[in-house]
Point group: C2
Chain length 219, copies 2
């Protein structure tokens, strides 16, 4: 049997990652226990929802007291698989790619870039952090040698699909796409998309809805 059903909703997983970060802050502050209400308000969610999210891991709190910070952190770390370091490759070393390659937040959370790739000869050989930018022709070799399981795409939209195909064929099972296109990937490969201009447009729409006086559509 499966005492913990392996099916944790995706939305819940995203929140678990947030809880984990809040817990780290609390631990730094010297706290040893937290209540669901406190944790929920720090994470910006409903207390009942938080408890339900946590219930997917089995009981891990003490009634009448709350959650043990260290214990819960351990549990979340193990469930999310942050314990072992994961090898990532990054394709497209433009402004955004360089920023991501240099972003310290990844290394401390179990993600390590093992390869940076770009098509432009001008960028090949450039050093970012402790890595050198390689040519695209080395992509498959590096993925095979390092066993990288995650690929990050920060290329122009036109070539993103081609890179996606090559990553998938090379055995990369998870792709994070920043290019403003919808990628098609074979079954068994997860693709997540972060589209910055869509975020801004949604924000603009909500703001426009809130201030209809500024629109002046009927005039």
């Amino acid at each position: 049997m499966q005492p913990r059903p392996r099916t944790i909703p995706e939305a819940t997983v995203a929140r678990l990652a947030v809880y984990l970060r809040v817990l780290a802050t609390l631990a730094d502050g010297g706290r040893s226990t937290v209540s669901s209400g406190e944790l929920a308000s720090a994470a910006g969610v409903n207390p009942a929802g938080l408890r339900k999210d946590l219930s997917h891991l089995g009981p891990c709190g003490v009634r009448g007291v709350g959650y043990d910070v260290d214990l819960l952190r351990d549990r979340l770390t193990r469930v999310l698989g942050v314990g072992r370091s994961r090898a990532c490759v990054l394709v497209g070393i433009g402004n955004l790619g360089s920023a991501l390659a240099d972003y310290a937040g990844f290394g401390t959370r179990g993600f390590e870039f093992v390869g940076l790739f770009d098509a432009s000869p001008a960028r090949i050989g450039q050093r970012i952090g402790n890595l050198q930018v390689r040519g695209l022709d080395e992509l498959e070799d590096v993925v095979a040698a390092t066993g990288a399981s995650i690929g990050v795409i920060t290329t122009p939209a036109e070539v993103a699909q081609g890179i996606c195909d090559r990553l998938a064929a090379a055995g990369v099972g998870s792709i994070l796409n920043f290019a403003p296109v919808t990628l098609a990937a074979p079954a068994g490969v997860d693709v997540r998309k972060v589209d910055l201009s869509v975020e801004l447009q949604v924000l603009a729409f909500l703001g426009q809805q809130r201030v209809p006086a500024e629109v002046g559509e009927s005039a």
Copy 2:
């Protein structure tokens, strides 16, 4: 008074922005009409869902033929409010902030940065694109002078809440937060969060879940 009900689901708005981009590509390719199926597959969604999304704008297709590309583009542009340019300020000119300030995709979609701010004296005065980085003390003045309605936060987590408060107090109604914290904002201010390490952690979790399943199946 409301031929179009003002309540368009947020998830739909995000997809409308995607459709708009796909339509731009199609228009560049010379296409004049598209069917819902074609548009849906290009956007990576279900055809029925796409039609439902578009139905929020009222009937804008021709039965038996499809959608007129230019007309639909016009309609979407007007609903999303991409027509007029929106003034944005960006706070925190680190690697990520610099990348965003230099990202061409925003300017072509109706978003214009009118102020870049950083706390570090080393960065103040630096030029990015056609803007100069200013000190944080000028933040309120610039927001007031330009009427900026959107603020983007790419600061370290520790100072993000303070910046959020100052932006909200200055009259910025929409905030896009890249800092790895959950921000609290007064009512009437929309906050959207883009958390890169959460995206990676979700991806890692999905991949981790997939691998043991594959092992069990192939054995």
